[in-house]
Symmetry: C2
Subunit: 277 residues, 2 copies
C-alpha cells in the first residue's frame, strides 16, 4: 500500500456508505472514519455497529478523502461545497453525466472531484444491509473530468484497490450508455414484469423466477431517480429491446423456427460466454 488515509469522511451511511465504512475498517485503510448522516436511526446504527468513530455535522478540515454516498441528485451540492477542500472527493452515483453537468453548470469542475460508480449493490437498502465484502472483486468505473488532478485520481484509485475492487476509466457518456443496458434496462423490465404477477402465481415459481425478479425488489424512489437522470439512454436501450422482443414474438407467432431459434441461440451463446458467474 502506498498510503493509509489519515481520516476518511463518509457522507450518507446507508447500504453503500455503510459497506464502504465496514470495508475500509476491515482493510485498515483509514486511521479515523467519520460519518455524516441525516437519519438519526441510520447514524445510531452506524455508531452502534462500529462502522464510524464519530457522527459529525460537517466534513472535518483534516479529512484526506471524502466519499459521497448520498442519492445522485444530492451529490453536486456536496461537490460544490467541498471544491476547495484538501481531500479527494468521490461519489458513488449510478449515473455520471448528469452529476458532472450539474457541478459544471455552477462552478469550474473541481480538481479534487473524482466521479465513481461501484457496480455493486443490493436490492436492499440502509446500513442494516451493509456488508464489508460488497466491493471485493467489484468493478468500479471512474469518470475523471478534464480538471481532476492526478493526485486526487491516484488517491481514489488506491482506496478502491485497497478494498479489492477492480477499476476502469470511461467518459461519463460511455458509462451512462453502457449502464443503461447492463443495469437500468434490466431493472425497468423487472419492474414492468412484476406488475402482472399475482399472489396465486407465487407457489408456481422456481429459481428462474426468483433470480429474474430479484432486482424488482429494489428501492423505488432510488430507481425512479436513476431512470430520470439517465432518461435518454434508458429510453434508447428500451427501443432496441422492444425491437428485439417484437422480432422474437413475431417468430413465435409465425412459427418461424429458423429465425426464432437463431435469435434465442444468439442470446444463449452471449450469456454462456459472458463469464459473469
Amino acid at each position: 500500500m502506498s498510503e493509509i488515509f489519515h481520516k476518511i469522511a463518509i457522507v450518507g451511511v446507508g447500504l453503500i456508505g455503510g459497506s464502504l465504512a465496514l470495508a475500509l475498517r476491515q482493510q485498515g485503510v483509514a486511521s479515523t472514519l467519520v460519518g455524516i448522516e441525516n437519519s438519526a436511526k441510520s447514524a445510531q446504527w452506524a455508531l452502534d455497529n462500529g462502522m464510524v468513530d464519530e457522527i459529525v455535522e460537517q466534513v472535518p478540515d483534516d479529512a484526506t478523502l471524502v466519499a459521497l454516498c448520498v442519492p445522485s441528485d444530492l451529490v453536486s451540492a456536496w461537490v460544490i461545497k467541498l471544491a476547495k477542500h484538501q481531500a479527494a472527493v468521490f461519489d458513488v452515483g449510478s449515473v455520471k453525466g448528469p452529476i458532472v453537468s450539474a457541478v459544471a453548470s455552477q462552478i469550474d469542475l473541481p480538481e479534487n472531484f473524482v466521479p465513481c460508480h461501484p457496480i455493486s449493490g443490493s436490492e436492499k437498502s440502509g446500513p442494516e444491509a451493509a456488508r464489508s465484502e460488497l466491493f471485493a472483486d467489484c468493478m468500479v468505473v471512474l469518470t475523471p473530468t478534464e480538471n481532476t488532478s492526478a493526485q486526487a485520481l491516484e488517491k481514489v484509485l488506491n482506496c478502491w484497490h485497497y478494498l479489492g475492487a477492480q477499476t476502469s476509466q470511461l467518459t461519463p457518456e460511455d458509462h451512462d450508455s453502457a449502464l443503461a443496458i447492463t443495469s437500468h434496462l434490466p431493472h425497468l423490465l423487472a419492474f414492468a414484469f412484476m406488475q402482472q404477477v399475482e399472489e396465486k402465481h407465487i407457489p408456481l415459481t422456481g429459481g428462474g423466477f426468483r433470480d429474474f425478479t430479484r432486482i424488482a425488489g429494489a428501492n423505488p424512489e432510488l430507481w425512479w431517480r436513476i431512470f430520470q437522470l439517465n432518461k435518454d439512454e434508458v429510453l434508447t436501450a428500451l427501443d432496441t429491446f422492444t425491437a428485439d422482443l417484437q422480432g422474437l414474438a413475431q417468430s413465435i407467432r409465425a412459427v418461424d423456427s429458423e429465425s426464432g431459434i437463431a435469435q434465442i441461440s444468439d442470446a444463449a451463446n452471449k450469456r454462456k460466454t459472458s463469464e459473469v458467474e
Copy 2:
C-alpha cells in the same frame, strides 16, 4: 413411506431424468432403476455414475412407475405406447395442455397417465448437470385427467413426496396460463434482452445483471419448443407485459413521478412480499 417401488423406468436420462434417478437412488425409493436413452454418451454417463442399474431398449413389463423425461413433443407417443402398461406413467413437461391434447387426439386418455411438471430446473442440460437435490422443496404441479385413476395418482404423488417435493393439482389450462407468466415470459424477456448486450458491456455488469440474465443461458431448442407449445398463453402474457412496460416508459418520458413511482412501488412490494427467497 407407504410403498417402495419395485422397478422404476426413466425414459430420457438428461438433466431432469438424471436428477430424478439420483434422487430416487438417494432416498431408496426404488429397488431397481432402469434407463432408456438414445444418446450413447448420456447412457454411458448414467451407467458410469451409478444413476441407473441398466440401460434398456423398452420399458420392462415389471416396471411399476415410468418417468418420461423426454422433450415435451415426444411425450404423447410414449404415453400412447404405455397406455395398457401396469405402471403409473408421468411426464415432466413444462407445458401440460398440448401434451394431454396430443394424447387425447389419438386414444382415450389412459388411466395410468399422470401429467406432471416439477417447477425446477437449470439453465444447464445433460446428465452431467444432474443433481440429486433438484426436487427437494420444489413445487410439482400435477394435472390429472378425468381418466387418471386414483391408484396411479397416489403412486405419483408418493414418488414426489418421497423426494421432498411439494405437490399441487391444477387443470392443464390453469397450469399453462400461470406458467406462461411465471416462467415462459421471463425466459422470453431474458432472451430478447441479451441480444443488445455486447462484449464491451460484460466488465460493466454486477450481480443484478448476472441474476436477471441467468435464464438466458438455457437450451435454445428446448425453449423454442416451449414457446411454440404454449404460444397463445405466452403471447397473451407478453401483451400484458408490453402494456405495463409502455405505461412505465411513458411515465419516465413525461417525468410523471407520481405514476412512475406508484408502478415501481407496486412491483417492488409484490416482489418483496412474495417470499420466493
